[in-house]
């Protein structure tokens, strides 16, 4: 009878132990779950006993925080170590420089009322010669800058 009871108890305890372990999410499950999430695909996650370490590049600070809270909310995750870095901002688009033909046409329009000033366009650079008053030159320069030149070289211009 005693033996039967101890068998029973052992079986019962083993049953409880097995049962309590059954719903436990393994580290592999956590990793797989993160990897299969399309919004988390750009990060690297390693899980160890429910502690998830995140690395890789987040798009920005908000992305980093969102990912962390998303992973924290997953079943089986006890703790999140967030080692993600923030991706550097993309470099600005290169400056758009107009071609010489539209520049030449634009120059003709700008200088129509300023016959004492001449300008030519070559490889996007507008070279200005002749003479102008300071006030007129300001107007001309404002108009020339609007044509999207590479630069406006007025070193040969005389200001009266």
């Amino acid at each position: 009878m005693k033996r039967t009871l101890s068998y029973f108890l052992i079986t019962a305890f083993a049953g409880i132990w097995l049962f309590s372990c059954k719903p436990k999410i393994s580290d592999q499950d956590i990793e797989a779950k993160i990897q299969s999430n399309p919004t988390l695909s750009h990060i690297v996650a390693t899980a160890k006993k429910g502690v998830v370490t995140l690395s890789g590049e987040a798009k920005d600070e908000a992305d980093k925080t969102n990912i962390e809270s998303a992973v924290k909310g997953m079943e089986g995750v006890k703790q999140v170590i967030n080692n993600m870095t923030i991706a550097p901002p993309p470099p600005p688009a290169p400056v758009e420089i107009a071609a010489d033909d539209p520049l030449t046409k634009g120059i003709a329009d700008v200088l129509k009322d300023f016959p004492s000033v001449k300008a030519t366009a070559s490889d996007g650079v507008i070279t200005v010669t002749g003479e102008a008053t300071a006030a007129n030159w300001k107007k001309i320069k404002m108009a020339l800058d609007g044509l999207k030149p590479k630069k406006v070289d007025a070193s040969a211009l005389t200001i009266k």
């Binding site: 600005p92 400056v95 329009d109 030159w137 609007g146 590479k150 406006v152 070289d153």
Partner: protein
């Protein structure tokens, strides 16, 4: 970055006005749309203080004014003369009419930043050089 130091005051003002500031091959490019004509004037004033007479050739400042939109009214701000109204956008295009000095016209649309399609209250319509048109605010 030396240019951005030289023109720091201009860069700061332009950035505050929402313009894009880029440095490329020794030239500082400032592009954008200012909320008003006075902000555009202010940027040019700052530029002129740092580089008197704009002769260094290291800045291209291209700022448009947000109020210059279709339907807006604009004043003809020529020196003294009438403003030519042309058939198309370019001084090579035939003149179809004239707007008087200080006349108020309607901005119909923009062919580009240089040429605007305008209509006078007298009903004349054609392209005029934008530099001589100041949008009313």
């Amino acid at each position: 970055m030396a240019l951005q130091d030289k023109y720091k005051q201009l860069v700061d003002a332009a950035t505050a006005a929402g313009a894009q500031v880029r440095e490329q091959d020794g030239v500082l490019y400032i592009d954008g749309t200012a909320a008003s004509g006075s902000i555009k004037d202010q940027l040019w004033d700052i530029y002129g203080q740092i580089d008197p007479n704009f002769l260094s050739g290291d800045v291209v400042l291209n700022v448009n004014v947000a109020t210059a939109v279709a339907g807006a009214r604009a004043k003809v701000t020529t020196e003294t003369s009438n403003l030519n109204i042309r058939k198309g956008p370019g001084t090579d295009q035939p003149i179809v009419g004239k707007a008087a000095h200080h006349e108020i016209v309607t901005l119909v649309s923009k062919a580009n930043d240089q040429w605007w399609l305008i209509r006078t209250d007298g009903g004349k319509e054609g392209y005029a050089y934008a530099q001589y048109l100041t949008p009313l605010e």
